[in-house]
């Protein structure tokens, strides 16, 4: 009987908390949480890397011999290809300049923030940063990696910290375009689609025109459509293209440009006001 009463109480209080949390009535409590724990988290994150390496070593021990042999063979092949890549590297540098990823954002203002937590539930792809409303961070603001590529957007902002939804989160959807993937029907303009997060594949470029010429390695950038992201932010590159006969659209799996799970510092783009903040 006691357990039944306990259960009824817990369910009632939990549901009430969830509703209040949705109404932002519990913000003062939530605001305290990560501010208190972030110093401990900082230390633990510093310790995490060697622990993770050790863990990976234990898990993968059986594959080390085969892996070593494979790497030796791959090294030989890579050495032969190195000369060709030097030429390609020059080409990439030109593309980056053309995209404006490195040089075209000099007029923008950024706020540097440290990553203090990551969601580990697996159902979401989110990180917490140590900047909040007191630093001018607002929900909807765009977050970039130190290299200038897209990381995600702020979706919960508290006084002292904010939660950032990564581009690989199932809730994330970014209007994107593929460089060098122009469909015949669009007469030379770049192929456009929507980059959506996916628990299985990470990041998928959906809604691509079926006649678009997308191939592995093509760079994908924000198109700026919708006004929630500035144009020409690097999202990633095409990893694989899924051809679906008879389907009106194509899909492509993307490799995010930023290493989303090892980020320690990010840049919040404060000079760009997304359409969702500016309003109609």
């Amino acid at each position: 009987m006691r357990v039944i009463w306990w259960l009824l109480t817990v369910v009632s209080v939990s549901l009430l908390s969830i509703i209040l949390s949705q109404q932002r009535a519990l913000d003062p409590l939530e605001n305290l949480s990560l501010r208190i724990t972030s110093p401990t988290e900082g230390g633990l994150r510093d310790l995490a890397d060697p622990i993770a390496q050790l863990f990976e070593g234990i898990v993968d021990r059986g594959d080390l011999v085969r892996e070593n042999q494979r790497l030796r063979e791959e090294l030989e092949r890579l050495q032969a290809e190195a000369a060709a890549y030097q030429d390609a590297a020059l080409r990439i540098q030109e593309l980056e300049m053309a995209l404006g990823v490195k040089q075209g954002r000099s007029q923008d203002q950024f706020l540097a923030a440290d990553v203090v937590a990551q969601d580990s539930s697996g159902l979401k792809r989110t990180i917490a940063i140590d900047r909040g409303t007191s630093d001018g961070v607002d929900e909807g603001m765009v977050v970039l990696s130190p290299g200038g590529s897209l990381v995600g957007t702020v979706f919960q902002s508290y006084k002292g910290f904010s939660w950032v939804r990564l581009v690989t989160d199932p809730e994330s959807a970014v209007n994107a375009q593929v460089l060098g993937g122009s469909p015949e029907s669009q007469g030379g303009s770049e192929a456009r689609g929507v980059a959506v997060g996916n628990l299985r594949q990470g990041l998928v470029l959906d809604m691509l025109p079926s006649d678009s010429q997308v191939s592995e390695g093509n760079l994908v950038i924000t198109s700026g459509l919708g006004g929630n992201y500035p144009q020409t932010l690097l999202i990633g590159s095409v990893k694989a293209v899924e051809e679906r006969p008879q389907a009106p659209f194509k899909r492509a799996t993307l490799e995010p440009a930023a290493d989303l799970w090892s980020l320690e510092t990010v840049l919040v783009l404060t000079s760009f006001r997304p359409a969702r903040l500016v309003g109609p």
Binding site: V3, V11, L15, L44, A48, A52, Q118, G122, L123, P170
Partner: protein
């Protein structure tokens, strides 16, 4: 005192869960040590203490994630119900029942979390979520259970049967 110990352990595990643990991925998921600890404490120390420790674990977990407050408290509550079946356990060893409670508790936690997130308007890919997160998490949490179970067992005052099912009188 016992609740202070539980609080301290849960606090550290909750912080560990959002700082260092995301780097540890097995079957594509990160072990949830807060859930494992709550389940181990419940089995080792009885339902009476579980009524306090399980909500405490939920609150601490909620405060360190982006989920709405109350989600984890609700999602962890099946653990208490699972231990209500304790009288039915025929095994002398407590490790196997603990593994079952952790596995079943993880499934319940995953499904309830997804339900709450979906109810609060978040996009929830059910098939991928269940197959790629909830089910693997149940297995991975069970795999990590001995690491947490042994210290919790050691902290528990009453003599219990051994890990391999050995009765206390035979030790």
């Amino acid at each position: 005192m016992k609740y202070l110990v539980a609080f301290t352990a849960l606090f550290l595990l909750a912080v560990l869960g959002v700082s260092a643990m995301p780097y540890v991925k097995v079957l594509g998921v990160t072990p949830d040590l807060v859930l494992v600890f709550a389940a181990c404490w419940t089995v080792a120390r009885g339902q009476g203490e579980a009524l306090v420790v399980v909500p405490l674990a939920g609150v601490l977990r909620d405060l360190t994630t982006s989920d709405p407050l109350g989600t984890s408290v609700l999602a962890l509550s099946p653990i208490v119900l699972l231990t209500a079946t304790r009288a039915l356990w025929i095994m002398e060893s407590e490790l196997v029942p603990t593994l079952l409670v952790v596995g079943a508790g993880s499934l319940g936690y995953g499904v309830l979390s997804m339900t709450v997130l979906a109810a609060t308007g978040q996009e929830m890919p059910w098939a991928d979520g269940l197959l790629r997160v909830v089910l693997p998490a149940a297995v991975v949490n069970a795999l990590f259970t001995p690491i947490v179970y042994l210290p919790v067992r050691w902290l528990s005052p009453q003599p219990r049967p051994g890990l391999a099912g050995t009765a206390p009188s035979s030790r």
